[in-house]
Amino acid sequence: MRMRANTAIGGALMALVLGAAVTAAFWTPFDPLRVNLRARLQPPSSLYWLGTDEFGRDVLSRVMAGAATSVVVALLTVALAIAVGVMVGVVTGYLRGWTDRIIMAVNDALLAFPGILLALAVMIVVGANKFGLVLALGLAYIPSVARVVRGTVLSIREKEYIEASRVIGNSELYSMLRHVLPNAVAPVAVLATSMFGWVLLAESALSFLGLGVPPPAPTWGNMLAASRPYMESAVWLGMAPGLCIALTLLGINLLGDSLRDRLDPRMAHG
């Protein structure tokens, strides 16, 4: 029962966020980019449900429009990091030897840089736009995924069912895909959900440094960053994107947990 509640709440939160993102493509209460200096820093009211910002832009409209950018950036980044990281991790963990040593040496060198620094460097090269952001953050998170996956694979490959697969006459590639990969899913699922949160925050950090999605296009990150000077006078400015990030994280974590349990036959009947 508990698991179903998780799935339901997580699903509802994610549906809300995705719904807002999709709706924003067709309709928002106001134009999220329209500046209205006569309505600066208005508190929430029946007209502006979540208030207005320092340029008089409607916060609700911007949060909705920002959902699309933020969620898409986070999803793509996580997908990129997981896809490449899992591939690298499985190959190095399974093959061991020189392949492993060389790739892991590079990987550890990358790990030594703070992710945000790495992302900064990449952003400067590819330029500040949505896909540069995905590439930069994705690259920054690949090494940690690869590390975790490699560790898991190292323990799985010593299991006797992998040896059994070899005795059956299966190729190494088949054993890797059929036996090793599915058994490495649980830690990857956990990692992916928590990474979603890091990416949302990293995106706001980059926006704060002026390297995220360039203004005036709204993202939750740059809205949060822009609200900082008005923290005391206009609380709602920071609250709206902050709550959005928090609720999205909650939703994705709940969904991730239930997904992981669903994928594990040992938990499915629990």
Binding site: K159, E160, Y161, E163, A164, S165, R166, V167, I168, G169, N170, H179, P182, N183, D264, P265, R266
Partner: protein, 537 residues
């Protein structure tokens, strides 16, 4: 007789969640200096009953009724503080898994000293002296350096001795040993248990040995208690229970002991199916920066022929190289020298598809040999991927038929974790047999299973072998199982074959000293009572 040391009366243990009775109305007593065996299969509640004495039931289990009187004091109502004072000096416990019951991060000496420092007011020098004495007593060579060493430097048998030493250091009145030697090979098992008996006698300690091995009961115990599904089935003198069991299920346990099968008519054909000459396997030392440190040979110059349909058993203690030999014969570990021929064809280094598809392996541990994310049907079907001429309907039929053969018809949709150990091992056997291999290596296929399950699995294995006629390399340290299934026996020690011959010759007329020692250490039912108690004194 004076009052017993320990009296357990009407003990009941239930699971917290469902209220299922794990131990139901069990009563027994242990006299001072007595060796009592508690016998039962897994799930019979024997471990739970023993842990209740110590007040150390795992979470999820709770004692709901009964009293536990130790020296007249009711442990069931004792305060946690009082229990802590009693654990160690009054009741000691040795666990099953020597590999995990010592803390790897603390030196042996520090772990042994913990108990003394906690329960006795003596100086550090005195503690050290007593620890060293005890280490010497359990026949650890060089106690001084052992004192400062860490657990990973010792083998399972050595660790179990150290464990025993640290428990006996406090001279408990009662020693509870929960399957203390199940993880050890036969020779080590005998050494550890003999030592335990001797130590117990030194200190007048009563011993409660929890085991599923009736051979050990026959050799060591004076009295036995038989449990089944949480209920006390029978209690009485050990030899009486074994030779004349009153209850049906005790009889079942006794009858499950492997017995020598009829000498089979299977004879080695002129042309061996698999033949191994001067096979050598080395495990590389640690890889250094520029070169590899000298390796250790696990298998050193082994010659072995296995005829079609023949069962050759490889026996030997742990570290004798028997498992490595099996792996090397399947080319799972590379040979460092020598050659392997399959049907006369050299397969030592070249990957040979025919050999790979004709040979199979059954593993020891049925818990890690099945992919937890595949259904039973998929697991059994997997080897058939490499039989391209089968249509998928034929494949399904073959899998279904195979599951029926191993007595698990209709289990195709289940997951491995839903099965018991014995059922899993049947699945592992089904997976090995489904492609009709001509050569199967079975690496300790029953040693992780209960006695009655062992008997079933061994019978199944024999039946399948008669039916499908595959040759088998049966690796085991359990001579009783070997006696039941083998045609020929090969004895290994230190990577070499020290003796080989027909089963009856090896068992009845062993030549090599090591074979004799192995046979002598094997726990068998001889109904002569606990001989070693008197004999080794």
């Amino acid at each position: 007789m004076t009052a017993p040391l320990l009296t357990v009366g009407n003990l009941r243990i239930e699971t917290v969640r469902t209220g299922a009775k794990v131990v139901d109305d069990v009563s027994f007593a242990i006299q001072r200096g007595e060796f009592l065996a508690m016998v039962g299969e897994s799930g019979s509640g024997k471990t739970a009953a023993a842990r209740a004495i110590l007040g150390l039931l795992p979470t999820g289990l709770v004692r709901t009724a009964g009293q536990i009187l130790l020296d007249g004091e009711d442990l069931a109502t004792a305060s946690p503080k009082r229990m802590r004072a009693l654990r160690g000096p009054a009741v000691g416990m040795v666990f099953q898994e020597p590999m995990v019951s010592l803390n790897p991060a603390i030196s042996i000496g520090a772990q042994m000293a913990e108990g003394l420092a906690l329960h006795e007011r003596i100086s550090r020098r005195e503690i050290r002296r007593r620890c060293l004495d005890m280490l010497a007593r359990v026949q650890i060579r060089d106690p001084e350096s052992t004192f400062d060493a860490y657990p990973h430097e010792f083998s399972g048998g050595m660790r179990q001795r150290i464990m025993l030493a640290s428990v006996m250091l406090l001279k408990p009145k009662l020693l509870i040993a929960d399957e203390p030697t199940t993880a050890l090979d036969t020779l080590t098992q005998r050494e550890v248990l003999d030592l335990m008996v001797a130590l117990a006698r030194d200190h007048g300690t009563s011993v409660m040995l929890i085991t599923h091995n009736l051979g050990l009961v026959a050799r060591y115990a004076q009295r036995a208690v038989v449990l089944r599904q949480g209920r006390l089935i029978e209690t009485g003198g050990a030899s009486q229970i074994l030779s004349a069991p009153r209850e049906a299920c005790t009889r079942q346990l006794v009858e499950a002991l492997p017995r020598r099968g009829i000498s089979s008519a299977r004879q080695a054909k002129s042309e061996p199916l698999v033949s191994v000459r001067a096979l050598k396997v080395e495990f590389g030392g640690r890889q250094r920066l520029f070169r590899r440190a000298a390796g250790v040979s696990a298998v050193n110059g082994v010659d072995l022929d296995i005829g079609a349909g023949e069962t050759v058993a490889v026996v030997g203690g742990s570290g004798s190289g028997k498992t490595t030999l099996g792996r090397a014969m399947l080319r799972l570990v590379p040979a460092a020298g020598g050659e392997i021929r399959f049907r006369g064809k050299e397969v030592t280094t070249r990957p040979d598809r025919e050999f790979r598809l004709a040979s199979q392996l059954v593993f020891q541990d049925p818990y890690s040999s099945l992919d937890p994310r595949m259904r039973v049907g998929e697991i059994v079907a997997e080897p058939l991927r490499h039989v391209p001429e089968l249509t998928s309907a034929e494949r399904d039929r073959r899998v279904e038929a195979m599951l029926e053969e191993v007595g698990l018809a209709g289990f195709g949709q289940r997951w491995p974790h839903e099965l018991s150990g014995g059922q899993r091992q049947r699945i592992a056997i089904a997976r090995a047999i489904v492609r009709r291999p001509s050569f199967v290596v079975a690496d300790e296929p029953v040693s992780a299973l209960d006695m009655t399950i062992q008997a079933q699995v061994l019978r199944l294995f024999e039946r399948l072998q008669t039916q499908y006629g595959f040759a088998c390399l049966f690796i085991s340290h359990d001579l009783a199982a070997v006696e039941q299934v083998a045609d020929r026996v090969v004895v290994m020690q230190g990577g070499r074959i020290v003796e080989q011959g027909a089963r009856d010759d090896i068992f009845d007329r062993p030549q090599h000293d090591y074979t004799k020692a192995l046979l002598a250490a094997a726990p068998v039912l001889d109904f002569s009572g606990p001989a070693s108690l008197q004999a080794s004194g």
